[in-house]
Symmetry: C2
Amino acid sequence: MIAEEYKKMLGEKSVIRQLSEYAAERAEEIGYENVFDYSLGNPSVPVPQVFTDVLVELATRDDPGSVHGYSPSLGIASVREKIAASLKERFGLDYEKEHIFMTSGAAGAIAHALRAVTVSGDEVITFAPYFPEYNPYVNKTGAVLKIVPPDTEGFQINFAAFEKMFSSKVMAVIVNTPNNPTGIAYSSATIKKLARFLEEKEREYGHDIHLISDEPYREIVFENVDAPYVAGYYHNAITCYSFSKSLSLPGERIGYVAVNPACRDAKLIIEMCGQISRGIGHNCPPSIIQLAVAEVADLTADLSVYETNMNILYRELTGLGFSCVKPGGTFYMFPKALEEDAVAFCKRALKYDLILVPADSFGCPGYFRMAYCIPTEKVERSLAAFRKLAADYK
Amino acid sequence: MIAEEYKKMLGEKSVIRQLSEYAAERAEEIGYENVFDYSLGNPSVPVPQVFTDVLVELATRDDPGSVHGYSPSLGIASVREKIAASLKERFGLDYEKEHIFMTSGAAGAIAHALRAVTVSGDEVITFAPYFPEYNPYVNKTGAVLKIVPPDTEGFQINFAAFEKMFSSKVMAVIVNTPNNPTGIAYSSATIKKLARFLEEKEREYGHDIHLISDEPYREIVFENVDAPYVAGYYHNAITCYSFSKSLSLPGERIGYVAVNPACRDAKLIIEMCGQISRGIGHNCPPSIIQLAVAEVADLTADLSVYETNMNILYRELTGLGFSCVKPGGTFYMFPKALEEDAVAFCKRALKYDLILVPADSFGCPGYFRMAYCIPTEKVERSLAAFRKLAADYK
């Protein structure tokens, strides 16, 4: 019988996809270089040459069976060891292979983590603005996702609202720092306060509360920004990482779950992830991609262009009267629209071939997201369009 | 809250894994070349050189963004087109891009297909001996997997038992031909009979019944064997393919769902697959692997060694008194054990460093599986061990 739940999901076409389809059509008319497409979080800098070299070396090995052969369901042992060693070295936590599970990007990591630590009837909390795909990940476990309204002052955490929403049903909290869509990194103070609160609640309710840290932008942090490693502050932390942004390979779908070794069920959660994969027929990421990222786990692409772009746009937009919290990382910024209805605002922006994303679907109406992972010269050419757009509101 | 359902699954360690762990330990003692490991379905022949060449060409392109960038959730359009064209050319069905969904191997394909066409309370039927991982794929949709007892005469279909088991609750039937673990291909007569039966039942019950055809071994068919393309015989057929065996890259987790264009909901099922992926955070297989297999969709590794090995083993084992239906493809064979309890038999085989898999977990007690995807010279060296084993039963 056709599964109606999935059939229904088809009706809800995402705003971002609609915008990017519009951008593609417009590009056919006026050339893609003249469409200022700030809609897509697709990294604009190339993968590091060393990644390419490693990939070629692996592909051309004498013993292809060892490269293209089955991976164990938790990931290739040597890969998990290298990632654990890299995390241990960088962040000082006692990670070992047994704390690492290889996944299909951060998406796969979060979906696995949620299935491991929540069951039907549980609640999961996250903070607006938030990545809307958390909804299907949470819903499919039978749990319910609750959204804390945004702290629009600084896009840290609205603790008053969070504490009010919290109950004994909450088994997991999802944070995303540096954040998509705001570009803001949670400060040490924010993370400490969150960790202390969760510890208190664990004692009060007598059960574990897992902190799922979604951090594909961990390596894109700007100068002098306080952006600490979340798991360093909380024992029951599950880090969900993707190499998509740090290595500029979002299409290769590679990441991991790393459970804080101090977490009581750390090794159990990792082993459960392997069982969770069985039900979805996913098993594990491709062997050659696992082997390749393990060799460059400590490297990144040249990510400096994102800070350059941010500085140009932040200066220009705030100069034009936009209200915007300065990003601490990622390749996103999150200004307030110049009218209350951000959808209408972004529609108007299309007049000037500016593709901006209204933040309604991120749970933060009135704002818009800009993904400035585009060439700097294009950012500069787009400034005139922003000036015209702002002039419309004078 | 820790999800007990996954925790419990951990207790059920697979026999195959235990055997392969034993084989690894024994290999440390006496050298791997002296362990006759027939337990694992890991292809023994190298990937075709042209696959490696394509992979290197992709990895070293000037425009890495186009290779490593996001894939649409249904798969890269050009890849889906090439696969559709290849299937159309080879099997004469009117496949187009819209009938193809790229997956993480056949496992991902089957799990997606089942989620698309069954819901909680439905029944799914398959035929013993069968691949035990069908259980988690089916269970996670809320449906129930029913197993038709084997036709041990020829390992075709036990139609008498199948027809008796059938009811209006059955929404999908899974076939696997050429078959793991028997090595047998369903004949045209078998598939025709199955298709006619399902068509009758569709009319009788007034609803669609989907035939999920799991065919990772489609390209490994021996000389003069009648092994037709399943979807050519039935309109509501969903083909689940993997390149693992044909191209010798099981670790790269790449395959597809192809829905028969004659299926009423063909395009809908494919679009639903994209939504199903959202819930599990999987999205799509890696871009570079998709792009690479699309270039070699019509090629295979040199698979001739499997038939060579089969002929040597079939001659020797039947000569020793084993009862065995001659395989028509794959790299498996499925003899009857020399005592009633195949687990005891396989345990005895370990005395001679023969690693054989008892077929109890495939739903066919009393038989054992041999995966002869090992070098021919090793097959030959193993014959003396089989002779000693058989002598124990004289």
